[in-house]
Symmetry: C2
Subunit: 422 residues, 2 copies
């Protein structure tokens, strides 16, 4: 029989449990924002803005027509009705992208296209479908309009979208379609984005097979590494899959030190609990490693541990898939986002109705994998299944975590609860 570790060993059992917020703060306090790199706008999708940009000019930069139609002076049409339409002289046809040649004076109009520059003097654009074009005897184009229009109709004033010098986007904002459009119109064909955090992923567990291996008795394939890699990519990071932590603590520490050179943060799964073979506990006992915390008052994932070695964060997550998933969202995702300068890196919370009875009594705050369901104006959060931390299938389709506070009795379906989304 193998020798047993003393299961009363103080350093494993008498850990001081922090609240999740405290633990997260300890991590965020040690995050260093990554340097920015310049990428083309086409490559900036999904990246986080690494510089403060201000508008180099107002937008639109000229009075822009919002319609195909006729640029007019609204006051010329005050008396216009369908029975008694007003006839205006058409001076020119202004294509989009062309500077008008003429100013519009009393009784005059200009044909104009959507996006075209509204000529001086005109203060409204009448849509084409509300007009009838004709010609005077001398060939002079005319337009007949049978309706009055308010001044300003279909005219976007200079700077009505963006004023010169206005900050375009918050630092750390993820660049999606709207952001890309905004950056393009301000001439940012290249943009500084935060470098992607390089995230070393290590696994522990003698039961783990590689994904491509045949199943063997008592073994399972390593699923956490693939899950974590996907989560890292969701957060804009670059996963480095480094395989398994060596069983020997010295070797594992050597590996950690070596890989620290090429990564910004290290995450591990498993080996942080009170079991006999929980290698990460020994690995993190390295005297050069500064322990931030080794217990959090949450379920699942209470043995989640964080440390710093040579100024770089190491977050040791639980090995149970559910605990690993929750720990990543609560502690690693905020760190990755903060590295990329996101201004509010922690998960954001909302209030929702609990979609199923939750009978369990909790000593610790519990985070349940759930999906959001919007019904008739109400937000419900439905647990994706049994919330046992070992279950992996409940992660599929989860889009939030229900927070169940420490309670002496269970919660009934329909109760308002706090949930956290990513």
């Amino acid at each position: 029989m193998r020798p047993l570790v003393d299961n009363n060993r103080l350093d494993r059992f008498n850990r001081k449990a922090l609240q999740a917020e405290e633990a997260r703060k300890l991590i965020l306090d040690r995050v260093k924002p990554l340097p920015s790199e310049s990428v083309t706008l086409a490559d900036a999708w999904g990246r986080k803005l690494g510089e403060v940009l201000v508008a180099p000019h107002p937008f639109p930069p000229f009075r822009r027509s919002g319609m195909d139609g006729y640029a007019v002076r609204a006051e010329d049409l005050t008396q216009a009705t369908s029975a008694s339409p007003v006839m205006l002289t058409v001076l020119e046809s202004i294509a989009s992208g062309e500077k008008p040649v003429f100013s519009i004076a009393k009784g005059q109009a200009a044909r104009i296209m959507t996006g075209g520059m509204v000529p001086e003097g005109a203060d409204a654009v009448v849509m084409l479908e509300m007009t009838v074009s004709s010609e005077a005897g001398n060939g002079q184009p005319l337009v007949r309009i049978g309706k009055s229009v308010p001044a300003g109709l279909n005219v976007a004033e200079i700077g009505c979208e963006i004023q010169e010098g206005e900050r375009l986007l918050p630092l750390g904002q993820t660049i999606g379609p709207g952001e890309a459009a905004l950056l393009a119109s301000c001439g940012h064909s290249r943009v500084a984005v935060a470098r992607r955090p390089r995230v070393a992923i290590l696994s522990t567990g003698s039961e783990l097979l590689e994904v491509e291996e045949q199943l063997k008795p008592a073994k399972i394939r390593n699923s956490n590494a693939s899950m974590l890699a996907a989560m890292v990519r969701e957060c804009g990071g670059e996963p480095l899959l480094l395989g398994k932590v060596p069983d020997d603590a010295d070797e594992a520490q050597a590996l950690l030190r070596r890989e620290l050179q090429r990564c910004d943060i290290t995450i591990t799964s498993g080996g942080v609990s009170v079991g006999d073979y929980d290698i990460m506990v020994d690995v993190l006992a390295d005297p050069d490693i500064e322990l931030l915390f080794n217990k959090v008052a949450i379920r699942p994932g209470s043995p989640t541990t964080a440390a710093v070695l040579h100024d770089k964060l190491i977050v040791a997550l639980s090995g149970n898939p559910g605990a690993c998933f929750v720990g990543f969202h609560l502690f690693v995702a905020p760190a990755l986002k903060a590295m990329q300068k996101e201004q509010r890196p922690a998960l954001s919370s909302f209030q929702a109705f609990l979609g199923a009875d939750y009978p369990k009594v909790n000593a610790y705050r519990r985070y349940i994998r759930a999906r959001t369901d919007l019904r008739e104006g109400s937000v419900w959060v439905i647990p994706t299944g049994d919330d046992k931390s070992s279950l992996m299938t409940t992660i599929v389709n989860a889009d939030c975590l229900i927070e169940i506070p420490p309670l002496k009795e269970g919660l009934e379906k329909g109760r308002l609860v706090t949930a956290w989304k990513w």
Copy 2:
């Protein structure tokens, strides 16, 4: 003065407006799912599953311990209390990944680790913290337990997560963290995913400058192409930015035919309206092109047009940024998702409370850019600003579209409305 196109021209004005659902159906009917390609699981993130996979074995594949502790027979502990604990003989210590040597008989237990294989005979695992280990005089390890436990406690039965032969994931499901974990545990180190749709993006508009150009009078920089490229990437596609449609219809048609070879779908922005320079109207008049529709009963984006050339879809969106954005979500995104075998490619709707008065009267169904706000269990949708189709800044932070039905009067804040999310 430039010659004017007859603004009463029938083919431009008398278009037949389809409802959005009809128009979308015409597009989806012409979508061909793309062939699948095999990628490593690490590269499968964000891709859509291209094959039906079933579980090759149950999961967990053995009775798995959910705790560090002792594997016991629950019936041995029925009388156990803290005052009168039960002492069991510990046969072995079962590490995760090791097959147990012994079966557990009456009065016996085995030390076991989280994830370990529960030995024959045992039907529960008592967590380590609830036990006291000791030794008999002869050195035989013992464990003292002062509490009864139900059978099944902390034991995950074979197949309790996934049964053998069960379908793992729906076809077309996006591979995220949970999916990656599931695929890994079933040994799928490579996975077939739908090939990314290649999407040609063309722009029209004589007012358009390239993003890197200096601003000139009456001109703006092309922002739609960058916006569309980001939207294509959000949908898992690969954008091909092809610049501007030539002003000459023949040249434009030739370009379209040439590029059709290397793309799966073409999207254009601008030039579909009733203006004098709306080139796409002429381009799509090519007799080889089958028109699906050229008007939809929506605002913004009513002139949105779809056609098929040599079996490939062409969707011509409005040039106004807001209209282009809405048209993409309603018509292009569903096509891209269907190409990647997503089972429900259209946007999904939900009911929410309108976050601001909407005074406008609409002849057509209107889609307003908005963001979702969850407050105290209620879902609100807040317009991101004025819903003029020309505005681009209202796209930033929009995460849904509020649908305003054709109405004779405006809607008040707090009314329940339908919204569409992506």
